[in-house]
Subunit: 338 residues, 2 copies
């Protein structure tokens, strides 16, 4: 490895002081057009690139964001990866790099994050978060944003979350406007916050149209294909004309059950899915031969917004603690007007 050139060498070559070179690089202060050219030429000649580390030390700012992913066994679900891509992209757009913190153990990151001066701000992501980390970061006034709605005892944390309630309400309204009254909902889980919010939106939609809530048309089972299959089997006894599902897996199971009963989508029953995984969903659509109408989480955008919000906080701006991003309602052909 050859030594990388520094300001001194550029200055010497251009016949000016390092400060002039620095000014040219940063477009700051006044530099005459003539010397500016000399400097630019010198920079090009020796292929000079500013040393980010030295710059960071002097500026006390690294232009690096940290992304902390709390995951199990070192494997991050696809879901997080897509958001991560968005974070990277959003950070990049504003001239920030992204540093990944992730480990299988539940180690605390707070010291490395806040004290080491390596990152200017941090984004938290994952279910099994170390809440002490967030609390600590929060109390130190260190810029951070959490992806996903979050309650942390004792503080009111910054977060950006998909607006599940609003999303399912929109979808429910859509079904109702298509003439549906007996609308099923699979995946009402009190344990999983997003799933419960989806349920709330569904309920609100019904309420706004004066449709009485029928608990026979709601199932708590929410995780696997088997859950969706069983829930749908049971629910079909009560003849819903439409059904909303909480994720890709339950959707698959439910569709299997519907087909087994000899029903056709959307002729006999309308279906709205909830797509947590676009690639998976795409492939299933191909396989099932069905273009599912669904609510989509704009994961890339979610990540981007998280990055931009964090950067805005880094730069000293004020923001509300709770931030929401609309879901995308994708109307395909699994719903029918009654």
């Amino acid at each position: 490895m050859e030594k990388t050139p520094n300001l001194n060498e550029v200055a010497k070559l251009a016949g000016v002081s390092i400060m002039t070179v620095s000014r040219v690089i940063n477009n700051s202060g006044k530099v005459s057009e003539k010397t500016k050219q000399k400097v630019l030429d010198a920079i090009k000649e020796i292929d000079y690139q500013p040393n980010m580390i030295a710059r960071s030390l002097a500026r006390k700012k690294t232009n690096i964001l940290g992304l902390v992913i709390y995951s199990e066994e070192g494997v991050h679900p696809t879901f997080y990866n897509e958001i991560m891509n968005g974070v990277q992209s959003g950070a990049s757009e504003l001239g920030y790099d992204l540093l990944i913190f992730a480990q299988n153990d539940e180690q605390s990151y707070r010291n490395r994050i806040i004290r080491s001066s390596l990152v200017d701000g941090v984004i938290f992501m994952g279910i099994h978060v170390n809440e002490d980390d967030i609390r600590s970061v929060h109390e130190k006034g260190f810029p951070y944003v959490f992806v996903g709605k979050r309650e942390v005892k004792g503080i009111e944390p910054y977060y950006i979350s998909p607006n599940y309630i609003e999303g399912t309400k929109v979808a429910t309204n859509y079904l109702i406007e298509q003439g549906h009254q007996k609308i099923g909902f699979i995946g009402q889980s009190k344990k999983i916050a997003p799933d419960y919010d989806k349920f709330l939106g569904y309920k609100q939609g019904l309420k706004e149209h004066g449709i009485t809530y029928n608990e026979k048309l709601v199932s708590e089972q929410s995780q696997s294909q088997a859950d969706g299959y069983n829930a749908m089997k049971e629910m079909l006894k009560h003849k819903p004309t439409a059904v909303m599902l909480n994720n890709t897996y339950t959707t698959l199971g439910a569709i299997t059950a519907i087909k087994e009963e000899g029903l056709v989508i959307p002729d006999d029953i309308s279906v709205i899915g909830f797509d947590d995984n676009q690639e998976l969903n795409q492939q299933f659509n191909d396989f099932i031969g069905l273009d599912l109408t669904s609510l989509q989480i704009p994961k890339l955008e979610l990540g981007k917004q998280a990055a931009k919000l964090t950067i805005s906080l880094v730069e000293g701006n004020e923001h509300p603690k709770a931030n929401y991003l609309d879901l995308v309602f994708l109307q395909k052909n699994s719903c029918q007007k009654l």
Copy 2:
């Protein structure tokens, strides 16, 4: 944001010089047990954490690895994300952080990477790589590793790749040992290097057992479910007793075709899949009700090895240019002894 403490403040509090503190932190040089305790106490008291930026500048080493992902439209296929997780994990194990470079345009990274002194080494990943970047990094002697076999004109690059040839050879041998002679292969593509390697392994397996290659049992179509479906339909006319597939999508299509013909897996035909996406595959297995025997790319491990190899190069060790990682042959129940 409160000011973070530095060596000076620890030293003052402990009543020693900053050098003693530095020695305690780095476990270098001789420090008496007594002063060591004083220093440790002081560190704990003010919650001191070394400033990584200052350390990096002084050491001329950041302990940060860069990961460059060349992708399209800012979206990285799941495949890369899993490898990325491995890279992060591997780097972390050896005390390195990971910085992500990724953008939708085909921008060159070489200057930022090599010259800015931000990262000690770099890992490249993706199809549409900017070859000039690699060449430049290579020629400067900057530590790097490419994930996936790579040919770059003019140089012999460092890479670590799944051993596709060996993998499919093992799988082919397995089928032959189970008594199969008419073994089909779907996905021989000259355009996609890994797919062609898979084909080569298949061919070698046949050759080792003196089975003549029958091109009626080989299909070039290799990308989509439709490809797999069509290829299988055609191939079934020649009555293979077993078939190997090149990826999850063609597998799905092929299985559909097999079922349509009224054949049962594994009773009528044995199937070996190639799993590029574990989550997808898992879900399909559930759906199809079939535990597919398949070749798996150990993506997490691939990423880890890439990180460790890069770090080893950073630390001045010698390594061969070409490095291979064995595929995992997962024997489930889609194959039958003849």
